[in-house]
């Protein structure tokens, strides 16, 4: 992704908001090691090359200059968006290089996210700094999307709608789940997406009852249901949509009735989502629709999750989630009903919380 001057202001503003949070929390400086947080604050590299290979860390101070740490492969990419004087290129001795660079600036204490720092790195960093746990601070900022982020999510979601519409012609008898998954990926990529936001789920009939089915050799029959859960990444932001299609002649009565119930539950949840409402209530509203129909036992997962730079981010819309909705949050609303002996139906929207309620993207 190219980072232009307008983007730089966006990242700079986020760092200023984080600095205010660090002052309020009494954290003198924060090590940012989770890749999506690093990108959110700097525009530098949204992904790590492998889960066990970080391409770089950011240190944001409460009241002073910030610093970016990476290795020589990324010097050029870093210099396009970060001042040279605040850049430290490390070699083999990453932790010692960080210690030297930051101690030269008077930084001796670092907050860190216990979920995003390994025991190994913690031990090495402890030789250089006083370390204090300070998890979830950047995530707290990311919870509420900026208007620019909502537009990017709307664009990613718009592309997803387009692909989902196209799929009613693509899914034909004889096509395997794996072939369908590849067609979905091709459609997304040829329409300009950077990639999928997660591996697509394509489940025919009974396979649709497996919440995380890997698309396999099962073929679409003449009359069957096909659950598709797929999303893309566009300009860094993720989309996530589920539709359950009927391929063939008249949909079965069970399919129609199950779909009707799932969409009612989705609507019930969307009707209660607004600023100030407890998140658990959204789950409850969907659940009650299923309870009233005597099928609540077939609703086996949470109602949805936050989405942004990551497919799964806060908040989680689970039965016991603490917290209330606020304007600018973007969450999925994806109730489903599953019967291993028959199949499953799930329907998913991404919604943005507005001042008055919520709106599907």
């Amino acid at each position: 992704m190219e980072v232009n001057a307008a983007d730089r202001t966006v990242f700079e503003n986020r760092r200023q908001r984080l600095k205010a949070l660090l002052v309020a929390e009494g954290v003198p400086a924060l090590l940012v090691s989770h890749p999506a947080n690093r990108f959110y604050l700097s525009g530098f590299e949204l992904h790590d090359s492998q889960c066990n290979e970080s391409v770089g860390w950011l240190v944001i101070t409460a009241r002073d200059r910030d610093a970016l740490f990476t290795d020589a492969r990324f010097t050029d990419a870093a210099l396009r968006l970060w001042p040279q004087e605040d850049l430290c290129i490390y070699g083999a001795g990453k932790h010692a290089a960080m210690g030297e660079f930051l101690k030269g600036r008077g930084v001796t204490c670092l907050g860190f996210d216990p979920k995003a720092v390994s025991v190994f790195d913690h031990e090495r960093l402890r030789e250089q700094f006083a370390l204090v746990p300070a998890g979830g601070l950047v995530e707290r900022l990311r919870l509420v999307k900026e208007p620019g982020e909502v537009e990017l999510l709307r664009a990613a979601c718009g592309l997803n709608h387009r692909i989902m519409r196209a799929l009613s012609d693509v899914l034909v008898p004889g096509m395997s789940e794996a072939e369908a998954a590849w067609q979905i990926e091709r459609l997304f990529r040829e329409a300009g997406a950077e990639g999928l936001s997660f591996p697509s789920i394509v489940g025919v009939d009974k396979n649709a009852a497996l919440p995380h089915a890997i698309p396999g050799d099962t073929r679409i029959a003449r009359d069957c249901l096909v659950l598709v859960d797929a999303g893309c990444r566009l300009s860094g932001y993720c989309s996530d949509q589920t539709r359950t299609y009927w391929v063939g002649r008249e949909p079965s009565e069970r399919f129609q009735e199950t779909k009707r119930l799932v969409i009612s539950a989705q609507k019930a949840a969307m009707d209660v989502i607004k600023p100030g409402v407890r998140m658990a209530e959204a789950y409850g509203a969907a659940h009650r629709v299923f309870e009233d129909a005597g099928v609540a036992g077939q609703f086996t997962h949470s109602l949805g999750h936050g989405i942004g730079l990551e497919t799964h981010e806060g908040p989680s819309l689970a039965p016991r989630t603490e917290g209330v909705f606020a304007p600018g949050m973007v969450v999925t609303v994806e109730p489903g009903l599953y019967d291993p002996a028959w199949g499953g139906v799930r329907w998913e929207y991404m919604v943005v919380v507005t001042e008055e309620g919520c709106k599907a993207l």
Copy 2:
């Protein structure tokens, strides 16, 4: 991926070898949290859904039954390859559920990999178990590939060769790096690959000098060099190849001479790789070719890396790598020369160490 009976024996044999290692190292039980290690020992889920979301952990004991821990989304996938009595499906209280399950079996002490366990998980597990650092044990087994793994790597690499040959017709003037990258991905997927093993690098002229260039809007000109570093995943195993193409009429003299040098360095390295030889010597052999030509300063990275279930795994062929080659190791040999004012040439093979030397896959 489907796991059949023959695969089960493969995974079972690996667990037996790990058990012997645990006995030798005095580790009563090992927590396996790195996804590739989990898959290597069980066939269960090669990938985590996000870097910050584990789909499950494995505990291998030195002398007793083993256990798999996952959440309800993966019950079905787990039961296809793991006995129900050794499976623990956790909900929100993952660490407590593990403690209860394992303490019921007399497991009170766990070895763990400090690089693959977060500070957060470590703190929660410490409430349940005595924890002892025991990193790199599974990686030690993975260093030497079984004959079956070499065949899978050969197949992935064979597909990579096919795509690299096809590329000489695909790369044409006017095509952008990003378009070329998508064509590469499409070719791999349509030929049956599960996906890319890493984001492709496509660099035109000067961009070829950036070791990790993101394919962008730069277009292939009538006479230019194009560096392509790309690989796929086939049956779980990764390939990784680099070629530097000339698009247009007669290649420039500088390109031809640089390519000749790079291929000489690669050959020099492959000539020294054999069992018992120090890994650093392979790097040294390539480096000497560049030194003799007075261009060693343009060789800015290590010679190569192990490859298998992950694109980057042990051993690293760097100037100061400790250790010697052993039969069955599979490594990349990928010297390159880069000049930011001109461009770069890299050439890469995957080689398997044999009894007598090494052989390109």
